[in-house]
Symmetry: C2
Subunit: 487 residues, 2 copies
Amino acid sequence: MAARSNTRGEEGKRHDDVEQWGTFEAAFAGPADGNPFVDVTIAARFTLQNRTVNVPGFYDGGGVYRVRFMPDATGEWRYETASNAAALGGQTGTFNCVAPTDGNHGPVQVAHSFHFEHADSTPYFPFGTTCYAWAYLGDALEEETLRTLRAGPFNKVRMCVLPKPIDNAPLFAFPFVRHADGSNDLTQLNPAYFQHIEKRVQDLMATDIQADLILFHPYDSWGYKSMPADADDRYLRYVIARFSAYRNVWWSIANEYDLFPDKTPADWDRFFRIVQECDPSHHLCSIHYSKVLYDYSKSWVTHASLQNYAFDRAAEWRLEWNKPIIYDEIQYEGNIARRWGNLSAQEMTRRFWLSAVAGTYATHGETYVSAAGAPESANGGAMHGDSPARIGFLRKVLEESTSSGLTQYDGSYYLSAGAPGQLYLYFFDYHQPCEYEFPLPTDAKFSCEIIDPWEMTITPVAGAFSGNSKIQLPGKPYMAARFRKIV
Amino acid sequence: MAARSNTRGEEGKRHDDVEQWGTFEAAFAGPADGNPFVDVTIAARFTLQNRTVNVPGFYDGGGVYRVRFMPDATGEWRYETASNAAALGGQTGTFNCVAPTDGNHGPVQVAHSFHFEHADSTPYFPFGTTCYAWAYLGDALEEETLRTLRAGPFNKVRMCVLPKPIDNAPLFAFPFVRHADGSNDLTQLNPAYFQHIEKRVQDLMATDIQADLILFHPYDSWGYKSMPADADDRYLRYVIARFSAYRNVWWSIANEYDLFPDKTPADWDRFFRIVQECDPSHHLCSIHYSKVLYDYSKSWVTHASLQNYAFDRAAEWRLEWNKPIIYDEIQYEGNIARRWGNLSAQEMTRRFWLSAVAGTYATHGETYVSAAGAPESANGGAMHGDSPARIGFLRKVLEESTSSGLTQYDGSYYLSAGAPGQLYLYFFDYHQPCEYEFPLPTDAKFSCEIIDPWEMTITPVAGAFSGNSKIQLPGKPYMAARFRKIV
């Protein structure tokens, strides 16, 4: 049974070349009878010199089994399959892992304790948005979402793998076999469903956007939020085997885990352990709550994924968790009736700045009432708000200021963050001082710029500043000031 | 020695008539030698039928002693003095207390547990401002302060009795005898100082503004913040004897009591007990802190005088203290460099609305940099900000909505307060819903108005509403909505 290596989108290289952090895939013909999802196991051991990585495979329907792997080092990799099905075991092959192409910086991982960067050390600061249902809204809306994301400032999308009901619209497919009477066969996954989701993950990868995959959510009406443990685990292993070879994947074990009617804390911990066990690429992994914080100090959590806007607690939480913090739900820009869905663009912009000078990150979402009058719920499609442009401006400010993220200056008279001795970024929030004496270091000179986060202007102040430096300010609220060491 | 009754500003009545809640004053000639402040005691027992009120008097310099009394009931009052000086004891007299003139509603007192009203039951909702030093800024600035207050929306002024240094400007007088070498004789008060302050308290009374007299403050450079206990107590008894007959007086034991270098909690408690002992009129009495809350549950505190803007804790604090809450320092509108002094007018307006729908009250202050470039510190003079007009608008909204104050609807989906079954006042803060289904009672009909706190507009919504009522809203942040029962 011949393996076929699949080096999607990497034209011009040898057919069996895979770029570093690209996706190697091998497909094998195997049993199509019985229930392959339950009956058949498949995995492969990938080796590079003396290093071995165990990679679970999955059944993709029609008697086809696949093993996908994201090589993280260049060189000649060999693999050998193992299976409880004779036809699938003992298959071997090789591929050559070559240097990544432009724009491929590898997966995002934790860096500098409280921040992130790509595997090749390219800086990455999460400026995410929320499109919970975008991957199964139908092609027209999905393409509109992609156009919106390509044109926008966001580099991460929170999205649900399992379907989220949208106004009772029919789904293109279900993730599990579903009988005519509406009952689920949770022992049989539906490859067509996941093939489509995975296509959308690839679309995001092609536009350099991280897919923060929400593995469980409590909003469904089809029973997936209350599956028995064996079905949960089977689904989870399947998704990991399918998706973990995409470098833009993050795992979000759940959205609002504390709203599930039947799950216990032990269930969530088990899911984390399964991710750790099955994901050979160690993608970022967290969990999102509604009201009850998960214990983000646990070793299997890579970063905190908060639902609140208590930016003033960031310092305390960093001490407690020693991890990056993403305020993944800080309410949404919009005008729907629900309290969480009607922030002004100004308030959303303000919250992003507050998160930045807290040395943390925030995630956007939009919930305007649609033209047809229905309330939207951050599911995807076009965006109409005024905050994304400002969030993009902040992203630009951050990216041109630092390569390692902002360190919060806890105890600063006004909120500020930066890199000691190098960078001081102040945000004045509702304060509107007409001047302020900035306590700059005395042993270096700094340039000064006044930043208007809403008007998106950066106005240099003439001069070079050192030590206590009194600067005239616009006397408007929500201003910022940036001091950069003059090299 | 003949007593002389003094019925200031009450022309057209018999010379010895005093209106209810007016000020009766009797003056007596007594010892001018030695140190009358220490050596001589004077008090009077005022009786109305079988009721007796003990009223301390005070030495006003030049051998003149005075006893002042604010009668709170009409009828013929008699008095008899007592003193350790023969010339001052045993003096008797009478006066007739008549009905109050228009505009005299008596002192403000606690009403409806968490609110205030005048002694004649006229509603009073505190909308205060802060003019710490206005009573000793010099006549020009003092008159400007008065003009400002007369034209403005405020009905309470927080002001310091003891001097507060202003840019090293000379004081018109000191409260204690001060020697050429700068040392104080704390055993000798200076009547001229207090005569002037008291004139300013009367000026406020004439324009219907409560004088929230701050008895101690930690800002002075003359030593008054660190007097020995006997000097503290003598000063306190003196001020109470002089000022308590003015119906617009409130006692604020201290501003930022926790910033005094030498005082202990027992000192502050003792001051409260002295006020209780010496003030025959039981004026409102509280204490203001910087960071450490005083225990406002203590029996001698009439209301909480907070320095914070934690409006979301009001419900909890009401349960704890069972008293009205005034957020007496919520930072100031202005543009000075200090963090507490540079709120935008919008943010100040927002905080007043948040306090209102929390069933509490707030106090304004203004700290713009002066035309001459010096930072002002809410000391008095003209006001330049844009929040006072909006605060006046809120006062009007409140006064036309209720006679007993707003009860917070704790647990309301959006912030709201009112009178159950009668009045529902919503404030949406940063939320900008385009519509909301208001859960009105089903057993009555309500009018609806959309209120724009900044634009100061009240827009009626056509119709009468009952039960769950979906109302279209402007989709702007910081809006309010009012529902009043249709009679």
